[in-house]
């Protein structure tokens, strides 16, 4: 199963603790270990939101914006794609990442096209609706 691991910078998280950040393992060891094993297959750091470029097509015209769509303090600082046998394995990998100590990690399971053809697709769709698409 594949997961997009969003590496988040969360400067306003009230639960951040300097002692956690100080005890964070080095990123080099994480990269070596998980890219070495093949658990992480692709990833990179991302330029800050100021360098983001928004693209929307409205009324047939491509609107390009300078900067992010919304000003939030929480930003995606980087990402990795994990190929893990299951969620617990992905959680264990994420929990070793230094930004799990200094920020936050969000794991997003891939949702391959076709899987929603499975018999419970209708339930999934109904639930997504009930959840407000969350």
């Amino acid at each position: 199963m594949r997961y997009l691991m969003l590496v988040m910078s969360t400067p306003e998280d009230p639960d951040l603790r300097p002692e956690d950040a100080a005890g964070a393992p080095p990123i080099e060891a994480w990269v070596e270990r998980h890219y070495g094993s093949g658990a992480a297959v692709l990833g990179d750091r991302l330029r800050p939101p100021q360098d983001a470029v928004g693209v929307r097509v409205r009324g047939g015209r491509a609107l390009v914006t300078d900067g992010p769509f919304s000003e939030t303090k929480e930003t995606i600082a980087g990402f990795d794609v994990l190929d893990a046998p299951d969620l617990d394995t992905a959680i264990a990998i994420a929990a070793e990442h230094p930004m799990a100590y200094e920020g936050a990690i969000e794991l997003r399971p891939f949702w391959p096209l076709g899987l929603d053809d499975a018999p419970d697709g209708a339930v999934a769709a109904a639930d997504a609706h009930a959840d407000g698409g969350a």
Partner: protein, 439 residues
């Protein structure tokens, strides 16, 4: 000689979770596992009368359920093969869950699997899965109850006082999330195991409190009465299971001991008048001595491991109360010492409030009031009736009946359980000398 129907019923009580766990692990799909387990019990009802009760009912049921699951998977695969999505469907499932044993995503792998001899392992995997922190908390509680005890959705709904459709939705969501996020039926990896075990114990404790709260209510006033009260017993049974499955985890024993010792007092917690009885007021002859004895035994075994935790400490406090022949004979200094330890482990306002009571018992009401003053501003306790109720008790003991009455009125504005409301009313009447028969 038991009848086949009684044998099926008996197997349902003892084997449901094991059969479900075994099938769930192999097919990686809790819905299919549930359906197959139900089917196996239905088959048992039809055939045990004719063919006799099998020697190992659990193994028979597991084999039958697994066979049913394989049939369903075969049918699904045949249907899927007809569509172009089959290729994409199969790709992400190949090699999934390499370290959790055969997952059975390839139905042809299932037939030859004979590890029926590890039903406890499958129960433990099922327990960790149902209590996975990536699931919504109320879904975890409902799923644990449904999966480990075999209670129907309707029964679970009744116990939690929600419509069946609501409970069904809660269960469906939790199961769908297991699938969508890639939770597998496994014991968590070593790095996560301690926390995950704590998560399991939390779910069992919350399940217990649902039922335990109902026991403090006047019997006639408990909404969903027997169903809700029964949850406490269910939780004790599940805690016993967890303690057996996790012999190296003293907190599992601590939780079991705590639940046994608290549940043992159930018949004394509310009087015939429907008024809640405080620990000091309870008729101790109503306490279940056999359950207390088991709780004390379990606690001693857990403490012997010398890795204390909050459940063991709370159980140790409960044990001091259980051992005292009467309230005044309680070892109050020891109770306070244990609350100090507990507060160090879990510095929550509720623990601090309980510690304030222990301070008052050990050193007098003035000392207790001083501790309460420090807690007064805590927003977490702002709507908690026990803060003013405890204050009222200590003020009354300090010879300040007017202040005590004022605190009781504050508490009455916050209390939500009927038994507790009656207790506060009685205290107020005792203080003000006006006894108008309120019910």
């Amino acid at each position: 000689m038991t009848t086949p129907a009684a044998a099926v019923e008996d197997a349902f009580r003892t084997e449901w979770g094991r059969v479900l766990g075994a099938v769930a692990r192999h097919v990686g799909d809790l819905d299919l596992a549930e359906e197959s387990t139900q089917e196996a019990f239905a088959t048992a009802l039809r055939t045990w009368g004719r063919d006799g009760v099998p020697e190992r009912p659990g193994a028979w049921l597991t084999t039958t359920a697994r066979r049913h699951a394989i049939d369903v998977l075969r049918r699904r695969r045949t249907e899927a093969d007809r569509t172009a999505t089959a290729v994409r469907l199969a790709a992400p499932l190949e090699g999934a869950a390499t370290d959790v044993g055969p997952t059975g995503h390839d139905p042809d792998d299932l037939d030859g699997l004979g590890d029926l001899d590890d039903p406890d392992g499958d129960l433990l995997r099922l327990l960790y899965t149902c209590c996975h922190p990536a699931l919504p908390l109320e879904g975890r509680i409902a799923l644990t109850l449904r999966s480990l005890t075999g209670m129907t959705t309707a029964q679970v709904a009744r116990a939690f006082l929600v419509p069946e459709a609501t409970m069904a939705q809660r269960l469906v969501r939790a199961k769908r999330r297991i699938k969508a996020t890639g939770i597998t039926f496994r014991v968590p990896p070593a790095a996560l195991r301690a926390e995950r075990t704590g998560d399991v114990l939390t779910v069992l404790y919350l399940l217990f409190t649902e039922g335990y709260d109902a026991w403090a209510e006047p019997a006639t006033d408990v909404a969903g009465g027997t169903d809700r009260r029964a949850l406490a017993g269910d939780a004790v049974r599940l805690a016993r299971l967890a303690a057996r499955l996790l012999p190296d985890e003293p907190e599992a024993g601590g939780l079991l001991a705590l639940l046994l010792l608290q549940h043992a007092r159930r018949d004394a917690r509310n009087g015939p008048d429907g008024v809640t009885r405080t620990l000091a007021e309870q008729d101790r002859s109503l306490w279940r001595r056999d359950e207390i004895a088991e709780g004390l035994r379990v606690l001693d075994d857990a403490l012997a491991v010398r890795r204390p935790g909050p459940y063991q400490v709370q159980a140790a406090i409960a044990a001091l109360h259980a051992r005292a022949a009467s309230a005044p004979e309680t070892d109050r200094d020891e109770v306070l010492a244990l609350y100090d330890v507990l507060l160090g482990m879990t510095p929550t306002p509720v623990v601090a409030l309980n510690r304030a009571v222990a301070v008052a018992e050990a050193h007098g009401p003035a000392a207790g009031l001083a501790v309460l003053d420090d807690l007064a501003g805590d927003p977490a306790l702002g709507s908690y009736h026990l803060l003013p109720a405890v204050r009222a008790e200590l003020l009354a003991r300090s010879g300040r009946p007017d202040d005590a009455a004022a605190a009781l009125r504050t508490a009455l504005g916050l209390v939500d359980r009927e038994g507790d409301r009656r207790l506060l009313h009685r205290r107020l009447e005792d203080l003000t000398g006006q006894r108008n028969d309120r019910r």
